[in-house]
């Protein structure tokens, strides 16, 4: 209950700060909260928006699928295979800390301009956090639980279902939450350069034309989507951890 009140206070504070900033900076720089809401509502009725939205949604969904599958399989392999992990984990950590924008030209060279490049770029953002959390989760499985599985006579499939997957799930979930947001960043970022479609491209055009209304509406849409997705994942994460 009190958490809900806190959240309301934070939201009200943000809106007030936004309005204050608007009054200070003026029409040239941004729009107020109420106007942005109206502009967004208008934007959502245009087919142009939905065309770009669809493009981004498809690219993001594919990038996220790649990041989740790739991250979890990479993490599982490195988590269980000692030698590979000694070799590759430092590289993975290094890669995670590289500002990936500097690699975007290479991605473009490898995948060409357009859809595949931004999917690959999004996945590049998402794989490291998901893989690293999976490695941690696998390493944290208590050996006694695996012994227990053997004592109970579980075969490989039951061992995974009864012991391993439930043991790693909460920690992987945390990585997925992080992976989700950075994959979205990667996809949008990928669209901002060398793309002809997508919300990132639309945003870039708006910046070029100094179309503050469009910039604000797009920022509002993207923020709302990211925040609500993050909230959903966080609550799943919490529920998974609750019991332990």
């Amino acid at each position: 209950m009190s958490r809900r009140i806190h959240l309301m206070l934070v939201l009200i504070g943000l809106v007030v700060a936004w309005e204050g900033l608007f009054l200070y900076a003026g029409e040239e720089a941004l729009r107020g909260p109420l106007e942005t809401l109206q502009d967004t509502a208008k934007l959502l009725t245009t087919t142009l928006f939905w065309m770009h939205f669809g493009e981004t949604a498809r690219a993001f969904a594919l990038a996220l699928a790649l990041a989740v599958c790739g991250g979890i399989s990479l993490g599982t392999w490195l988590g269980f295979h000692r030698l590979s992990s000694e070799l590759f984990v430092p590289m993975l950590i290094g890669f995670a800390s590289v500002p990936k924008v500097v690699l975007y030209p290479l991605v473009l060279l490898a995948f060409g301009l357009g859809f595949p490049a931004k999917v690959a770029f999004g996945a590049m953002f998402g794989i490291p956090p998901i893989a690293l959390s999976t490695i941690g989760a696998v390493a944290n499985i208590r050996p006694v639980l695996i012994k227990l599985g053997r004592v109970l006579g579980l075969n490989a499939i039951s061992m995974a279902r009864v012991v391993l997957i439930p043991a790693v799930l909460p920690e992987i979930m945390t990585g997925l939450r992080l992976g989700f947001s950075v994959t979205l960043i990667g996809t949008i970022l990928g669209e901002m350069f060398a793309a002809r479609r997508g919300l990132g491209y639309l945003l870039m055009t708006a910046i070029g034309l100094h179309d503050v209304t469009l910039i604000m509406s797009l920022a509002f849409v993207l923020t709302s989507l990211a925040v609500s997705a993050s909230a959903v994942l966080l609550s799943v994460d919490r529920r998974l951890r609750q019991k332990f």
Partner: protein, 269 residues
């Protein structure tokens, strides 16, 4: 009680366990044996020994979790080969409750392979819940229970399989002394109410002296059996035998056997 005491439940002959050297050099570690041992049907058998003497290795060999380099182990006449045999229940030193399952869910795990009908499974689960005083905690999660209670859940999960041999690897090591004595009583009660044979690994001499019919004393590594002490306690017994004068004599004898080995083991570390 010991109807077929003539044929041992478990026989170990010439058991030797050598661990390969750790990668990057070093020598192979001769952990255990050669070692001969018979467990009689229905007895409460304990093993004590200095730390690092191969007690847990012996435990895992009988549980089928490890394989000996040499020698044979048989349970009910059938050799144990790298697989946990039916009829053997295992309780580990560490808490092995699955934290995402309730007490009832954890206990039910023991029956996954039983092939019993749902109704029969329920009956057995209810029975062990009562036996281990867990009825009111059936829908709790392990995190909501104390260490002693969690270990009780692990014992219940083993009992629900109705094993003929129960292996306990220092199951009370993490508990405080008072709880340990009471848990010991509880294990005695369970042992009496089932016809199972109990094999207990422990480092607590008093625990071994209080609970067991026979106690094997192991040497420092490589672990061999130095002697087997018979307690001759009545089957009906509880922690009050601590007051018995023979209890002191047994504990003293165990310590006399163990003292030099413990010094040896400590020097080796």
């Amino acid at each position: 009680m010991l109807a077929d005491a003539a044929t041992p439940l478990v026989t170990l002959r010439g058991i030797t366990r050598v661990f390969p050297p750790i990668a990057g050099g070093g020598q192979p570690i001769h952990a255990l044996g050669p070692l001969d041992l018979d467990l009689r049907t229905g007895e409460f058998f304990a093993v004590v020994g200095p730390s690092g003497c191969g007690k847990s290795t012996l435990f895992e060999l009988i549980a089928g979790l490890q394989q000996a380099n040499d020698g044979t182990i048989a349970f009910e006449g059938k050799p144990i080969t790298g697989k946990v045999p039916d009829g053997i229940g295992v309780v580990f030193q560490e808490d092995s409750c699955l934290p995402w399952r309730t007490v009832r869910g954890n206990i039910a795990l023991g029956l996954r392979k039983s092939g019993l009908s749902r109704a029969e499974q329920e009956t057995r689960i209810e029975h062990v819940l009562v036996l281990m005083n867990l009825v009111e905690f059936a829908s709790h999660y392990p995190a909501q229970l104390s260490g002693g209670m969690r270990q009780r859940v692990c014992i219940a999960r083993t009992l629900v399989m109705e094993p003929r041999l129960i292996l306990l690897d220092e199951p009370f090591a993490a508990l405080d002394q008072q709880t340990r004595l009471l848990m010991g009583e509880e294990v005695l009660r369970v042992w009496r109410s089932t016809s199972a044979t109990v094999f207990l690994i422990t480092h607590a001499l008093d625990e071994a002296a209080m609970l067991s019919d026979r106690i094997a004393v192991m040497s420092a590594r490589p672990g061999r059996i130095l002697d087997i002490v018979e307690t001759a306690w009545p089957r009906e017994r509880d922690s009050r035998i601590l007051e018995d004068e023979r209890f002191g004599a047994i504990s003293a004898r165990l310590w006399r056997l163990l003292r030099d080995e413990t010094i040896k083991a400590a020097d080796a570390h």
